[in-house]
């Protein structure tokens, strides 16, 4: 038996023994997501156990080096993902630490930041938020104005961030600041890290059209940031931010995928509209559902192909822009379709039978997919310029 087969067999057995039954059921909403952090309250004992057991093995970040995370190779990581999908295991942890700032620290260092920040991320102890956007700097991110003044061994940071997801529930922020006001736009930016408990940091939640309030305005008022909390080097922030945005895009693009175990749109259509003579009772909707499902299948295959090409060391380097663009537009189409399929049931907001308006709320939330992490229009700009050579 090959090493990989042995690994698969052992992983399967371990997951069987350690993944609680309730963590193998489809997640029904945001409530089931585990974000961890100092302020986190677990929704159930199983949620806590599942995180602890996975974190213990470093499998919340399976492909990070063993001294910080799981230390698995690419193939082993894939096997772990396949085995988790097989039993429909929920992700033990959702984390900006694992998806975004962790990989950046791993890649750009310095070493003391790796040792300080990566293990708590893997254990789900520290929850991070992303301080990029400002009122005057959205798509044109490099126009950001938050200033960091050099005071010898530390910086003093002043400015305002906006759309900071989960800022009120996060423990630390990775934040883009201007360290050199005289340099060219992109050249004077640094990526710094600070605790959200630092004096001068305050947040104000913003309510979304979906009714929830997942993000905030963040005010930075004479915030002291230690010099040793700069990722990479001073004034190197733009390079790191671009690297990070690629990671973020890949993650958001993944929203187009149907999660393992979730009901397909076709199944939901049958439930909502019903069959007549074996065909969905509404002919035009039937066509739209089929087209959506075919597009979704092709999209999943494309994400798979991008991974296979990356493994083989080929492929379009900028495929993340395409996946982000297509995956988010696909997800928006999914929710429009679900709203149409469910007719007036989709309009419910609260009241009837303890209905919490999940359909409508998720539909509204999906509108943000093509805005967050760089808008669809910006992704199309990137494709046209970097891949197609138009400009």
């Amino acid at each position: 038996m090959s090493d990989l087969e042995t690994f698969r067999r052992e992983t399967r057995a371990w997951l069987e023994a350690n993944c609680p039954a309730s963590m193998r059921t489809p997640m029904t909403g945001d409530d089931d997501v585990c974000w961890g952090g100092r302020k986190w309250t677990f929704k159930s004992t199983d949620q806590r156990l599942w995180l602890e057991r996975m974190a213990e093995r470093g499998w919340t970040a399976p492909d990070w080096p063993a001294e910080y995370g799981g230390g698995l190779g690419k193939d082993e990581t894939r096997v772990l993902r396949e085995e988790m999908d097989r039993i429909r295991a929920r992700p033990p942890l959702h984390s900006f630490g694992i998806w975004m700032i962790g990989p950046a620290i791993l890649r750009f260092g310095p070493e003391h930041l790796r040792r300080q920040h990566l293990p708590p991320i893997v254990r789900g102890e520290i929850r991070w938020c992303q301080g990029y956007s400002e009122p005057g700097a959205g798509s044109d991110l490099a126009g950001l104005q938050t200033r960091a003044e050099d005071r010898g061994d530390h910086f003093i940071v002043n400015g305002q961030k906006i759309w900071t997801s989960h800022a009120d529930r996060a423990d630390w922020m990775f934040c883009l600041v201007r360290t050199n006001p005289d340099a060219k736009k992109q050249a004077g930016i640094s990526l710094v890290l600070f605790d959200m408990n630092t004096p001068g940091v305050s947040t104000r939640p913003i309510t979304l059209i979906s009714g929830s309030s997942p993000f905030c305005e963040t005010f930075l008022d004479n915030v002291r940031v230690e010099k040793d909390q700069v990722v990479g080097e001073v004034d190197q922030g733009w390079t790191i931010a671009k690297y990070l945005l690629t990671h973020e895009r890949e993650m958001i693009g993944g929203f187009g995928r149907t999660a393992a175990g979730a009901r397909t749109v076709g199944e939901q259509a049958v439930e909502a509209v019903g069959l007549e003579d074996g065909r969905l009772a509404d002919e035009l909707l039937r066509g739209e559902v089929a087209r959506w499902e075919m597009d979704a299948r092709a999209f999943e295959l494309t994400a798979e192909r991008a991974r296979a090409e990356a493994r083989a060391g080929q492929g379009v380097g900028n495929s993340s822009a395409m996946l982000k663009y297509y995956g988010t537009e696909l997800n928006k189409r999914r929710h429009e379709l679900l709203m149409a399929l469910n007719g007036s049931d989709g309009l419910l907001w609260q009241g009837k039978d303890g209905h919490d308006g999940a359909l409508a709320r998720q539909w509204l939330r999906s509108k943000g997919n093509s805005i967050e992490g760089g808008t669809s229009e910006i992704q199309l700009n990137i494709i046209a310029r970097n891949i197609l050579g138009l400009g």
């Binding site: 295959l301 083989a312 395409m322 199309l380 197609l388 138009l390």
Partner: protein, 380 residues
């Protein structure tokens, strides 16, 4: 696991197919055939050279003189033939005919036909449709048992390569109503038999097809391909294969149309700048690029599912063909529009891609047909 990245061998085949077709059968060759009104609609000399390259035997087992290189391999040739708009018996003989015989032929039928097919000497044509829109299970053509063999009566439209075929593969009804899967039987029919009438036609893509009429055509019992009354299963398989390869051809057409359009946008200047600097056009091309990337994944997955006899193969073939239709339609329409007046001229090649795309789209079902089929396979 689907093959989504080509193996070294497959990549070599693709590269050599590209080199060969660009050199021996470029778009200008297709234009010449059209202008000369070639009665075959393809070049016999080019076909002979393609056979020499081994293209004709790609799906035929080695025991019958082929190379057994698989669908992913053949798909690469098809994609490259889409780029060059190369007309040849590849689809009707080397893909559809070969697949029908390998899948359903008796030992004797395979012995007789496959080797000459791999050698490019025997051409086949699938006579399936009876109406302008593809509906394979609507079969009025009847085959009645006459004691010794069968007597066939009926009419088939849009038979690709019907004008040159040495053997027709004909769907008939041996029992039941004209609609429905049960009672369909496939026959191998020699076109020279008394009562077979072949009416050639030229299609919008300058290729040839034929209407084939059967008037009391008598065939021996040994002409049945597969089992009597159970032809629908064979047909499903053959059409899935045909559509996966048409999707590969449409992928090539879409990519070539996009590449040519991009080239034009980079060169053509208006308002003192290149057209490619206009964001309205950049975004349209970026969207087209994304659609084509998804198409490529769908085509590769369908082809490799056929090679691996995956349970999802037929659904994936429909996904690939449906997407190929919408994407090639988009690519060729955008191609004409973004070339401006130049795109409307016969002299410029982009219109040739538009024409071939529509023919390939309609062949064995367009995106609507395959969306319907996909929905049925998914249980709604």
């Amino acid at each position: 696991m689907a093959t989504l990245v080509l193996t070294e061998e497959q990549q070599m085949l693709k590269d050599s197919a590209r080199g060969f077709l660009q050199e021996n059968a470029p778009v200008s060759a297709m234009r010449r055939l059209r202008d000369e009104g070639d009665p075959d609609g393809f070049s016999r000399a080019t076909w002979a050279a393609m056979v020499e390259q081994g293209f004709a035997g790609t799906l035929i087992p080695e025991a019958h003189g082929g190379f057994d290189f698989g669908h992913v391999g053949m798909g690469q040739i098809q994609e490259e033939a889409g780029r060059t708009l190369t007309a040849s018996p590849l689809l009707a003989t080397a893909i559809v005919g070969a697949c029908a015989l390998v899948h359903a032929g008796t030992e004797a039928q395979q012995q007789e036909l496959l080797a000459p097919m791999a050698a490019g000497e025997l051409l086949t044509a699938l006579a399936v449709d009876e109406r302008p829109r593809h509906r394979p299970e609507l079969v009025h053509t009847r085959a009645e048992y006459n004691g010794a063999g069968y007597t066939i009566n009926g009419c088939k439209s849009f038979v690709i390569d019907g004008h040159v075929a040495d053997r027709l593969i004909v769907t008939t009804r041996t029992s039941g109503e004209c609609r429905g899967r049960d009672g369909i039987t496939l026959f191998l029919v020699e076109p020279g038999l008394p009562g077979v009438e072949i009416v050639p036609m030229v299609t919008v893509d300058s290729r040839r097809a034929a209407e084939v009429r059967f008037n009391d055509v008598e065939v021996p019992a040994g002409a049945v391909l597969g089992h009597v009354d159970e032809g629908a299963d064979v047909l499903d398989r053959v059409l899935a294969v045909a559509n996966a390869h048409l999707a590969a051809e449409l992928l090539g057409i879409a990519r070539e149309a996009m590449d040519r359009t991009l080239q034009y946008l980079r060169e053509r200047r208006q308002f003192g700048v290149t057209l490619g600097s206009f964001q309205a056009l950049q975004h349209r091309m970026a969207q087209l690029f994304s659609e084509i990337e998804l198409l490529q994944s769908a085509v590769l997955a369908a082809l490799s599912a056929l090679d691996e006899d995956d349970a999802e193969a037929e659904a994936l073939c429909s996904v690939a063909k449906a997407r190929a239709c919408t994407v090639a339609e988009l690519a060729t329409n955008e191609g004409v529009q973004l070339h401006g007046g130049m795109g409307m001229t016969d002299e410029f090649d982009i219109g040739l891609f538009l024409k071939r795309a529509r023919a390939a789209q309609q062949t064995y079902g367009d995106d609507r047909h395959h969306a319907d089929r996909f929905a049925r396979l998914r249980g709604y």
